[in-house]
C-alpha cells in the first residue's frame, strides 16, 4: 500500500491482481450482475480505490474496504438499473451476506496459497479455480498428467497446514 501511495505503478498492478478475483466474484456471484454491469462495477471499484489510496492508511483493512465498496456499488447499480427482476439484493437466493462470508473465506485461502510453492499454487489454481483438465495442466506445467491427482492431494494437504497456521482456532477469522 505504501508503494502504491508513492505512485509505484508495479505496486498498483499487484494490488489490482491481488483483489481482482474477489471483486469479480462479489459482482458475479454474490450479486449476480450481468457481465456488462459487473465490468462497470469492477472498473469503478478500482478507480475509486486508486482515488482513495491516500486515505487507506490501514493496510490490513483494505480487503474489508474493497469488499464494502464493491457491495455498495453493486447495490447502487441494481437499484439504478431498470431491471425489475432483482430490486432488493437481500432477496437473492442464499442471501448476499452468506455469499460475502464465503468469498471472504475464499480470499483468505487464496492469500494462504501465496505461501505454497509456485508449482503447487499453479496446480491448485488451474484445477479448481480455472477448471482445467489434468491433460491441460500437465502440458502447461510440463509434468506427466498421471501425477496430477497425487500432486493435488499433496498440495491441498500442505495448504491445509498453512491455512491452519494462519488461522489457529483461538484466533479464528470470521
Amino acid at each position: 500500500m505504501a508503494r502504491c501511495r508513492a505512485g509505484d505503478e508495479d505496486a498498483w498492478r499487484e494490488l489490482v491482481s491481488r483483489f481482482s478475483r474477489y471483486v469479480f466474484a462479489i459482482c458475479s456471484q454474490a450479486f449476480r450482475l450481468r457481465t456488462e454491469d459487473a465490468e462497470e462495477v469492477f472498473q469503478e471499484v478500482f478507480a475509486r480505490t486508486y482515488q482513495h489510496l491516500e486515505k487507506l492508511r490501514d493496510d490490513d483493512a483494505i480487503r474489508a474496504w474493497i469488499g464494502q465498496l464493491t457491495r455498495r456499488l453493486c447495490i447502487d447499480h441494481l437499484r439504478s438499473s431498470s431491471r425489475e427482476e432483482i430490486v432488493d439484493p437481500d432477496a437473492l437466493p442464499g442471501g448476499v451476506d452468506d455469499a460475502m462470508e464465503t468469498l471472504d473465506e475464499a480470499f483468505a485461502v487464496h492469500e494462504a496459497m501465496g505461501e505454497l510453492t509456485e508449482n503447487c499454487r499453479e496446480i491448485l489454481d488451474r484445477f479448481f479455480a480455472r477448471d482445467e483438465s489434468y491433460q491441460t495442466i500437465g502440458a502447461a506445467l510440463e509434468i506427466p498428467s498421471g501425477t496430477i491427482a497425487s500432486r493435488i492431494s499433496r498440495c491441498l494437504a500442505r495448504l491445509k497446514e498453512i491455512f491452519e497456521g494462519r488461522n489457529p482456532p483461538s484466533h479464528a477469522s470470521s
Binding site: G7, E9, W12, R13, V16, S17, S20, R21, Y22, V23, F24, A25, Q29, E39, F42, Q43, F46, A47, Y50, T102, L103, E105, A106, F107, V109, H110, M113, L124, D125, F128, A129, R130, D131, S153, L156, A157, L159, K160, F163, E164, N167, P168, P169, A172
Partner: protein
C-alpha cells in the same frame, strides 16, 4: 473455528475464479490513464480551441490529437469537463 478439510479448501479455491484478463489489465492501467487525463485537462484549460473541440466532439478531438479514446478516459473526461 470452522473445519477446513481439503474438500472445503478446494471449494474455496474454486469460489474465486480469475476475473477476465481484459478487465484486470484495464484496471491496472489506471495510473497511466490518470496521467493522460491530467495532461488533456491541463491542455484544455490552457487552450480554449482545444477545449471547444473536446466539448463539441470528445471522441473525435481525442483521436485527432493522437489519444486512444477508451471508455474510462471518455467517462472521466466528460465528468471533468462538465465540472
Amino acid at each position: 473455528m470452522t473445519a477446513y478439510d481439503e474438500h472445503r479448501l478446494a471449494e474455496l479455491i474454486k469460489a474465486l475464479p480469475p476475473a477476465p484478463q481484459a478487465w484486470v489489465e484495464a484496471a491496472q492501467e489506471l495510473p497511466l490513464a490518470r496521467g493522460r487525463l491530467d495532461e488533456i485537462v491541463a491542455r484544455a484549460e490552457a487552450d480554449l480551441a482545444f477545449r471547444d473541440a473536446l466539448i463539441a466532439n470528445l471522441e473525435e478531438a481525442l483521436r485527432l490529437e493522437g489519444y486512444e479514446p477508451d471508455a474510462i478516459l471518455l467517462d472521466e473526461l466528460r465528468r471533468r469537463l462538465e465540472s
